[in-house]
Amino acid sequence: MKKNMKSTITIMSLMLSLILPFHSVGQNKGDGTIIQGEITSATDKLPLIGVNVTEMDVNNRVVSAAVTDINGHYVLRVKSLQNRLAISYVGFIKQTLKINNKKELNIVLAENTHSLGNVVVTAVQKHGEGGYVIPEREIGTAMQTIDFKQMEGLQVSSVDEALQGRIAGLDIVANSGDPGSGTSMRIRGVTSINGSSQPLIVVNGIPYETQIDPNFDFANSNQEQYANMLSINPDDILEITVLKDAAASAIWGSKGANGVLMITTKKGASGPTRVDYTYRYTRTVQPKGLNMLSGGDFTMLMKQSYLNPRQDDNATNINEYNYDPNFPEYENFNNNVDWIKEVTQVGNINDHYLTVSGGGERANYRVSAGFLRQNGTVIGQELSRFSSRANLEYTVSDRIKFTTEISLTNTDNNRNYTYNFNDGSPNEDKSILAIAYNKMPNVGVYAQDLEGNNTNSYYNISRGSSLNGDQRDLVNPVALARLAKNELKTFRILPTFRLQYDLTDPEKQLLRFSSYVSFDINNNKTNMFLPQEVSNLIWSDSKVNRADNSDNESLTIYADNNIAWQPKFTNEDHSLLLYGSFQLTTGNYSNQGIVSYSLPSGEAIDASNLAYLTGANTSHSSYRSLAFMVRGHYAYKSRYIIDGTFRRDGSTKFGAGNKFGNFPGVSLKWIASDEPFMKSTKKWLSTLAFRPAWGVSGNQPGSEYLHFSRYGTYGSYLDVTAVKPTSLQLTNLKWENTTSYNYGLDLGLFDDKYVFDINLYSKHTKDLLFPKVNISNISGFSQLSYINGGSMDNQGWEVNFYANRFVKTKDFSIDFRFNLSNYKNTLIDLNQTLLDSYNSDYDYKNGSYLTRVQKGNSFGSIYGFRYKGVYQYDKYIAGSQENAPVAHDAGGKVITQQDGTPRAMWFNYYGKNGGAPYKFRGGDAIYEDINHDGSIDELDIVYLGNSNPKLNGGFGPTFRYKNLSCNMFFNFRYGNKIINAARMNAENMYYDNNQSTAVNWRWRKDGDITQMPRALHQYGFNWLGSDRYVEDGSFLRFKYLTFNYSVPSKLLKKYSIDKLSLYFTLNNLYVWSKYTGVDPEVGYGALTSNAGLAVDGSNTPRSKDFTLGISVGL
């Protein structure tokens, strides 16, 4: 209670500090004198009706107002006879005059018949928000801004998609082609290992985060966390700035280590009300992925696969593969189903977007609403999203400005159900598509009667079937998509209130107090139901007829009070800006869930219905942080510039002594091209600037209360509620700290027609946070939630090039942009326990690659065997059957034993580490016996390549011809290796899963020459981690092609339409790559799970789609 009081008081006093200025200004009570008069037109001397008459004080603040009646007469009770009156009326020239103690004022308004003359406005492009605004040319840190005008006409459902490939050093990779699988985003590589390597997102100066359940696994959460990017409508975005180096991101201190994405939304502008409407239609088609076997080919494979290991005919006698009409289920297993076709469809997106904006002298506004409806390319997926954003800016006086922003998003996402029971069932964590790829093709979608006609119920293989559990318990994906429910409803509302108050006359010097309070209210509801009809379990099983309902809500309050001071020097060579800020964040999160089963099947049911309740949980947490920051900017002659930042952050996440962290940053800039001695080259060298910078930024763990030894409930025993310690107290947990240096060069040629932006950087991260580190179980705990476990370096460079209308004729122009970057990370130091746990012994299992994390090396090195094809013969006969499993010496000669027979090849001959020895046979995979000892084991494992690209980047031209523009974009990666796990799983012939058609080339009998080994059901070592599945992942992708046509305004005028444009976009046109998998664009592996290896487990390439759009402005 006490602590709640305290936080309430804090919030109230913050609110008070907001409201206070109004009161203090509103105190000068007038004498209440009434003045009146008549307003007439100068042209016809007639009275004017509805004229605005306002009383204004010295700061041009409106203090009272009136409107003239039908006689043109007004009456106004004024606050002070010293104030002025302003009279305005549409079509007339506005007048302002002093009251000068008069009681009656008759005014004649002149009609505004003149057209406006040419007005030349000169303005310096400035960057920044609130009080801290510095000219863009004086920025000394590494940042890059993307104007969203460039994006016009692109169908992007989220911001990350739009940014992909556009910013040097920002690497965004879609996790897979499966719909909704999200992206992983890295600015300048990985600096943190703890998984939350995603950059901080800031919207209009306010961090845009979601508080995540402390138990949430960051390492595997790219999708979920970045799904929240979806709730910003890309149409509302004006520009995005990416802060790349620590000198820039130090202002976000403890959260900025992974870089910062600053999003600015559009605002209203003065002028008549404008209405814009945009409609886009997108059709998405899922391209064909792997070709899978037909029913006949599959059963043939299975029979061989079961026979081969022990040549046992009984093993192949499986009714479901036999096509025996006497088998009662015969009709259900004689089919030929293309499961991928059954679960996919053509997807489409309908996107409506309406904006109303405008404003006058005092206020401007922009209100937008969008509605998006999407059908996924996999059946059963449907997303609808309503989003709205309102921005109101009211200028109370020349010195006080008040802004309100409210954004609201409501999303209803009907997703596919995913099994999440961790019970070893073959459905575990698989998407509908993944199940479809595995499902045996000879079983039907619908149960069939004895004549082989489909009935109207879905077919599930009976639990009593003799099939292997891999297939027996694999659900019918069509039934799962159609019948099971997994609905996520999200509602998020973010109101922000801002105040800006100039304490002195801004014409003389700027002393500006700004303040904001922002609330982030986020509600999620998940509603899941798994009916019995989708599985072969009996209805009373706890996994079916089961409803999971969960709700979570979070509230975060951000508050910031800051003061900026910019004195005016008489010597205009100096410019100075000082800024101090105090920020507070407080928030809480709560979650409740309930699970019940044995519900009546059929209509999806709420978990609170009467049934077996298996789980009910609630959790709460709250968090607070505060920060104090000072910034300064000084420029001499606008070409010698120094910037400094110091931020001190405090957080509840750390224990006493470690609560606060300091994050300084300094950047310098020298604009050499403005030096007098450079005058001679100014003609062609329009910009030349150097930007060295240094800064420190941080990272904090993802959960709260780590520094306490906590006790939590633990069920009950004999009616007594059990309580036990749930965590080990982390006594010395510290901030993760990244120090970075950036050396930047700005180069502009020929009046900035060609612009280069080049950065070199190095980053050093220490006290790396590692989550969930194993500790000896004898402690009674299996993991420490976090440790500070090592340090790491990152080095890299990036080049950004932009050619601005470098070809230009009267009607035609071309722009071109290009970016290129690379980085390398090196592990400097790592806690020995961590090293040991990452470098576990080789496990002698199919499909696994040896991982090694070594000090002084970067992550992502791939080690494995060398694959040399398939043994053609089983028995070695010199001369005729050479290619058989026998050992060779270094000279390539067959090794003979004492009795003269050739020595056989073995896998793990010495049976080390509990692995079973295995003698290779004809048709088995050949692995290179590096040490020629006749045994394939860990000593034959070699380095096969690295997962990190040598280069990545993007480029594209924009062509404009009159009102038509055409925009192309390509992105690429070069020099990285990928483990093609999807192909491995589709070609291993080890389980009962369906395989790709490539296995039709498998070895079947002695003498077959092929690269595809024989089928062995759960036997042998034909798919060891080898270079057979390691491929070059370089690619060049034609990402999109857009045409945009604006109808000339001459044609539109008679329909009183302001603007009309049409667009057409083709997405993901073509990929050039040697990669044999479906798509070479593979997400990053987490160090914590597989030592940073890039593993492609996706069966589906990225969708190719097109969008048609129309945009109308009134």
């Binding site: 913050l14 500090s17 304490l503 309580v723 004898i778 009674g780 509990g914």
Partner: protein, 526 residues
């Protein structure tokens, strides 16, 4: 105007100082959990952590290990309806492929209970000063329970791994040393005995509620565990002495034959129960037993009893390995019509699936065929019951040798034997004349009586330890299947114990792998 500005600035500054000064503002305690500093204030805190110690033993991870360590490795279990993928590691053990990465090599669930006990033993004494209702007597009783549970955990560990780290300190923070080496076997056993002797002094004899008397540690439970420890440690006289303390309790008696099955295994908390872990349909289900042994929803469990040992398969030759229908000599047959052979397992499709724990009761039709009724509830897990203790004492008496002891041992065996062989003659001393024969008789009776109760592998281990050879153990285990089962026993004594999990060796540099599983050095030059 200026005055106003000063006022605003002043207020903002005050606000800044006010909040920064308050670094307490950053002290936030969890809302759904309690922190150590606020805990351990009252008797209820002590009681709830004690409940957690028991609750820890009802984890699936614990029950499954009691079954895997004590039963799955023995001759009593083979694959039943097939293991789901999650039980891949159980299949590996049945295949004789036991490696340090096997999930059942993990001991963490037992150490978790040990840590809860250690924590309780560290803080409970402090509560005496804080809560007047919590008296010294209360404290001693709580300590007796916690020490016994800790001893029980170590007893499981020492039987399974032989040597394990002995942790007595409660784990509180990340700067403590968790890299303890293994302690020698006798150090651990002495520690167990020391704890149990302390508990003997203070343990309650009666909680007043049957479920508590069976579900919590009573003096009988302390003594039974102690007897078992003495038996393991080959201190047979002490074992007999301690067992007699339990047998003196008149409240403990064997259930009558016709109710025995349903009272002991279905209703639970029977008169012969000494300590059983309590499960509850709504709060904590015994999932391991339901899925491994079966239930109403799925009578066919994941494991089954070997056909080679079932009563109607063998038993025709003298000295065969089935405990039922056992031919002692050409004329004497033991367990010819033993109801335990019908109550413990049921025949479906050529396999003997486990009925004990899975069923409510069995009834017989007029023709004598068995009808099995399966339970839909959740069974308690019996850790010790009276017949176990009786046969422990019998085993100790046989080891002590001498005519009187042999007679006493046989009469104890007859108590459980006759209950399940109604109308049969009692076993006669003339048929079991040697110590060897008596030893085997007790072993067979233990197998029949305690089938699937997590005892058999330890029984075989005791024999092997006495004989200093695994040949007897291997004889039994290899008969569980007709195929090649040579690798199923233990080639050497060290192989009877489980390997230490790989992850544990990585996390604790001071730990050494158990001898049989130590990696032989690499062999590039071989």
């Amino acid at each position: 105007m200026i005055k106003r500005n000063i006022y605003i600035i002043g207020l903002s500054v005050l606000l800044l100082i006010g909040i920064t000064g308050c670094s307490q503002w950053l002290d936030l305690k969890p809302e759904s959990e309690i922190i150590l500093d606020d805990f351990w204030q009252s008797q209820s805190d002590v009681e709830s952590v004690l409940a957690a110690c028991y609750r820890g033993l009802t984890e699936d991870a614990v029950i499954s290990r009691m079954i895997v360590w004590g039963e799955l490795r023995s001759d009593n279990m083979i694959t039943g309806n097939g293991f789901p993928n999650a039980r891949y590691d159980m299949q590996k053990i049945l295949d004789g492929d036991l490696v340090p990465s096997n999930a059942y090599a993990s001991w963490s669930s037992f150490y978790s209970v040990i840590n809860d006990c250690n924590t309780l033993l560290l803080y409970a004494p402090k509560v005496v000063d804080r809560d007047n209702n919590f008296t010294l007597t209360d404290l001693h009783q709580v300590q007796a329970e916690a020490m016994t549970l800790r001893a029980l955990c170590y007893f499981y560990l020492v039987r399974t791994y032989k040597e394990v780290p002995l942790v007595e300190e409660a784990s509180i923070n990340d700067i403590q040393n968790y890299s303890l080496p293994k302690s020698p076997e006798d150090t651990i056993i002495n520690h167990i005995i020391r704890d149990l002797l302390y508990a003997q002094k203070y343990a309650k004899t009666d909680f007043g509620i049957t479920a508590y008397n069976k579900g919590k540690i009573t003096l009988d439970a302390v003594n039974t565990i102690l007897a078992d420890v003495y038996l393991w440690n080959q201190q047979y006289e002490k074992c007999v002495e301690t067992a007699n303390l339990v047998l003196a309790d008149k409240n403990l008696k064997l259930e009558q034959a016709k109710y025995a099955y349903s009272h002991v295994f279905y209703f639970g908390n029977s008169t012969e129960s000494i300590f059983e872990l309590q499960f509850n349909e709504n709060v904590q289900k015994n999932n391991t037993v339901i899925s491994m042994y079966g239930s109403n929803a799925n009578p066919i469990g994941e494991v089954s009893f070997p056909t080679t040992l079932a009563y109607d398969q063998v038993g025709t030759e003298v000295g065969a390995f089935s405990p039922f229908d056992y031919k002692v000599s050409s004329s004497v047959i033991e367990s010819a019509n033993d109801i335990r052979a019908k109550d413990s397992y049921a025949l479906y499709g050529g396999k003997y699936f486990i009925f004990k724990y899975a069923g409510i009761n069995r009834s017989e039709t007029l023709t004598g065929a068995s009808m099995y009724f399966y339970r839909s509830g959740t069974p308690n897990w019996i850790v010790y019951r009276l017949s176990d203790l009786m046969l422990m004492k019998a085993e100790a008496l046989v080891e002590l040798d001498g005519e009187a002891n042999m007679k006493d041992a046989l009469s104890l065996v007859n108590k459980t034997y006759l209950r399940s062989n109604e109308g049969q003659d009692s076993l006669s001393i003339k048929n079991y004349t040697t110590k060897f024969e008596m030893e085997k008789l007790v072993l067979r009776e233990r197998q029949r009586e305690l089938l699937f109760e997590g005892k058999r592998w330890f029984d075989l281990e005791r024999i092997a330890r006495r004989e200093n050879s695994t040949s007897t153990l291997n004889d039994y285990v290899e008969h569980k299947s007709s195929g090649n089962t040579v690798s199923l026993g233990a080639p050497v004594l060290d192989a009877m114990y489980m390997p230490i999990p790989t992850s544990e060796l990585e996390a604790n540099p001071n730990l050494k792998q158990n001898p049989y599983y130590e990696e032989t050095s690499s062999s590039s030059n071989r």
